[in-house]
Symmetry: D2
Subunit: 365 residues, 4 copies
């Protein structure tokens, strides 16, 4: 059995979700996966977060989008970080994958984009690819992701509901002792200037004690296929998107708040967990730079979000991240992979009973 | 009624505390306060975290200690940050106070130290003073802290139990809708090299929804003395100390983990909340630099904590910060200050009932 | 004899200067000094860089300006850094002074502004005060700067030519072995959108070998009043202003380029030289935030500088910084201060002969 | 004609060089190149900076080395940056290459190391690969670097003199208007604890006005094969190594100083020039972490360099970088590449005449 947190009655926070409660509630954001689980040693894949302007498709052509990156723990192989931080923009889709496949995926993004008409004459590009280490269930040294998988994930990117759990870059990941994977959620914020959407997608793969709406849940029985002392640490990649008009400075601040949501799920923020949050605004379309350079030269018209409204977005980032992580766990299924290692899915019945017990008692009080 | 969280049966996390469950469990760390609440408009003070070598007292003389700073949100007036980050050491006691008094306190630290024999010929010094905005209950523009208050706080610094709640720099602060103040806690970590202590002291003054061991607690009734729309945002200063041998890089990483504890108490990490965490190691005594310069030149003998043991310290930082914040709230009393503004203390009975309801139900399940 | 570099025929770079070749060429920027040299032990002062909106004067009222800070070496006591970096704005005049007076000056800025009508009800303010260590010629522990000196410097701030050399915060500073002080310069950049001005003001106090237009100049004879091994290190504060419309991200990048100019004058970037560059745009007037908060909420209309035009501003930052540092040296006079220490002025005749020798030979070749 | 700067009598700075005046003067540091210039469109390659412990060779086995990264302008695709910064160590050889080949090279490093016995069971690795954009002379989208080229460069790595100019990653790069490439230099510093070596290797590819020992040199005639307005910007990668015992904090500070040397050669620090400096200490051998993790757990015995000695190393970084850049230019030859673009070599006779003219005149004065 799998279910999204909200289907189980578990609703972190107070803000309303968007229509499909996923990052795709942000207009223009699409998500696609390519999943690899054919051989016994491979439980991995790639997930693409796509916007038309980042692949040179649609009337706006090839553009960059304002972006900000917050690194809580830089123990990871994410590529594209220094340029994104320096220029405050992203110019390619965001790809998530297995740790040591990150370079093949980045190279595949170049191949994919270079083949598109809008990229004729492009001088250089800065692929942004993040990863977590799914090595407990998949042979990371095999680096099985090919150009075709990356193209498939980008081409499959669609609006609407997002496949979660053991899919794409979440095929082999684990979090808080259980099988996890991809999760997503969204929040609608009623700003003084009108409603905006904040969507989150996570690749959850970190340690700690599963905590659901504040209730610590018992860890799974130890995996006897695991060697004693074997490392059990991971990472978390959090991608945030919003149609609110934010510049890179405030997107960076927004991204940082997502770690508050991660904390609420019980993360122990271990030293070997590379935790990265990347935030993108779809409202700040930038005009393309000089031919072949790909630099933004100016943002288009429009008022940015006033500072007093940021706090609502910050809260949305915390809430949507917490729920996206829960979804990444609750939508995952027990999985066996390389070396016979097995990760149990979260026992949803037990968790629901545990949490609703708390809720029941609270409504009595 | 006031009580520490643990006296109420509320025990965040799993690691054991030190003897007095405070930052003073770290050998050599002393805490002192000076409290100002004589006039109706003034509810403020100053808190000093002291170590002998930072005031040139004791056989080791004047030294620096390894230190690291993690800034989650830099909206604040903390002084001493760039040098502490650049050199990775602290060379004065840490002072906490009211936002606009920070400069008078920093200057008072210079006056205090310059009068001591060990500082004859000192070329320059880098005071480290942090603050939160207690302006809801105190007239921050009065800047009432004097040289005498600072000297009194430093001179009063003692080992053993730490006064918490409405004392020193916590006299006028609020958190999560309620009156808060100073709080402290500690954890003992059994490392492979032996036990070490991690202590935390907070000046809590931030927004969000009070969450106790995962249970969201109802906010207090609105303060009718408050003008509609009046800002209700704050900050949090977190000081960590440990006798584990860590360098500034790992102290910075340790400091960052404390925000995980802050998240667990319900912080909304609002844009106007300047959140700073400063970590100090008492184990890395450094030799003094050239006369009058105050630069560390080398750490003394001893093995640093192995990376694999860091995670336990990281967990301790999360747990002790959560408990220190709860203590800062539970030890505070309802306070009326400038403009007749009033902050209610947390209703401990209600909170305990709420949380124990959850616990009771969980033990049934 | 003192003279500005350009009066001596020494013209770094290729871009044209503004009318008075100073930071005051940026419309709205004014500079004022208060100089203290009455007693034998005091050779110090304070320098204010002022804009009407930063003191709540003029039709625009109280506003913030976009700002960016680049720290090359954080060994210094500059205050206001974390908030300026977090919010990307400055909300007070910039003050420069002697290292240990920085806190008294910051406090004086609060006193000064709080007394002005535009600051009635202001909730908090973030003074920005930088410093260098003039301790070789002045008793830094005396901290002689008072509220009156700070008010005098701000009130004296005027457009037009800037007093340079041994004045204000430059009264006691030294650079590259010689007496230095305050220096300023400017460049006009013809952008695709029209001309903009970039102005620089430096408080020069750093070590290295004086290098004029690439020609290394012999160091001064050793100061026999100096104890053997006595530290001879300092810092450099560089303030840049421009009427080009840049956000905090690009102002930070602009600020960083000024260190290139500093390098060209022969800085050895020693470990004890706290080198800070702060850039402000007068074109990005921001609307004030909620009452009493002082936060920017949005920038006003107008196109930012296109990225392709940034390079000209970056070059201007290098050139104007180099020239401002030369002016800070060439306009300073031999000074004797605390302990009978003496700093020689640069021997201008010798330097001109040395450099023009090079120039003459180059024109022959 | 090509020659090293010093062979032409051009000697930046005052510190003595090591025996071969290259990064290989640091004991244990080896350099290798693979050069690709077979087809008319390809002028590129790969350069490897290798130490035994970074490839698991020799008695010490597989280790990490302390490392620090300073990013002056993050517009680039360097990989490995966040982990290197977070952990303060490097665990693979450093590879330099063409901008869009960076991911294939990083992947090839994984392949290369995984095949070695010391890496059996390695859990993950963090390749460090930097790049500059050699697109003016080479088809960067072809991404021609293969696993074999990377292996060849690493295997070719040798002590002793380093091939400079149009070789390896410098085959297609340009700087300051002229053909440039790889350059190297070193300095010996007599510290209080004994002599240490600081070596630098650069991949020079940046804009500005060639400045030799302070003398600006005329730019080359315009390349008529270049389209009007075509971008002419680049980057600089600077690798520093030293046998001085420095931790990552001080290595980062050391790395930053190298930009001072870059400034002295005439860099305009343009917005599109991704300028990165990476510093490594060979003296801080770290013990390997838990099996399969590759984390350092502790540094070995030995005193770090006292702070007062850092300044000499900082000066060495400035001087050696300036000379390495000059070598990268003076050892390069006129090259024609993709699209018939041609970069002229620096006319050494003219430059020597220009600079010695200055010198001659100075010696007369």
């Amino acid at each position: 059995m799998t279910a999204r947190a909200r289907e189980l009655g578990l609703m972190p926070g107070t803000l309303p979700t968007g229509p499909v409660n996923a990052i795709t509630d942000v207009p223009g954001i699409r998500v696609g996966h390519a999943t690899l689980h054919d051989s016994a040693d491979i439980r991995t894949g790639v997930t693409a977060i796509v916007h038309d302007v980042l692949i040179g498709e649609g009337p706006a052509g090839r553009r960059t989008l304002p972006a900000g990156l917050s690194v809580f723990n830089g123990f990871g192989k994410m590529v594209g970080t220094t340029q994104l931080t320096e220029l405050g923009v992203i110019e390619t889709p965001v790809l998530l994958t297995s740790t040591l496949s990150v370079f093949r995926v980045a190279d595949a993004v170049l191949t994919y984009l270079h083949a598109r008409p809008a990229y004729a004459g492009a001088g250089t590009l800065n692929p942004v690819v993040a990863e977590t280490n799914d090595g407990y269930l998949s042979d990371i040294w095999a680096r099985p992701i090919t150009d075709q998988h990356v193209a498939a994930a980008i081409d499959a990117a669609a609006a609407g509901p997002v496949a979660e759990g053991c899919v794409g870059a979440g095929t082999g990941t684990s979090a808080l002792g259980y099988k996890a994977g991809i999760g997503s959620s969204s929040r609608v914020c009623s700003l003084s200037t009108g409603p905006v959407v904040l969507g989150v997608l996570v690749q959850a793969n970190f340690g700690g004690l599963l905590t659901v709406l504040g209730v610590p849940c018992p860890p799974p029985p130890a995996d006897t296929s695991k060697a004693p002392g074997e490392a059990d640490h991971g990472s978390c990649v959090i991608v945030l998107a919003t149609d609110a008009r934010l510049d890179s400075r405030n997107l960076t601040r927004l991204a940082a708040r997502s770690f508050g949501g991660m904390a609420r799920t019980g993360s122990d923020f271990s030293g070997r967990s590379g935790d990265y949050a990347l935030a993108i605004s779809t409202a700040g379309l930038t005009r393309d730079g000089p031919a072949g350079v790909g630099l933004a030269t100016a943002t288009e018209e429009g008022d940015p979000v006033p500072d007093k409204d940021l706090d609502l977005l910050f809260l949305a980032a915390i809430e949507a991240t917490e729920e996206a992580i829960l979804n990444s766990l609750f939508m995952a299924v027990t999985t066996t992979g390389v070396g016979g290692h097995t990760r149990q899915a979260v026992p949803l019945d037990e968790v629901v009973a545990l949490v609703s017990g708390r809720s029941a008692r609270r409504s009595e009080s």
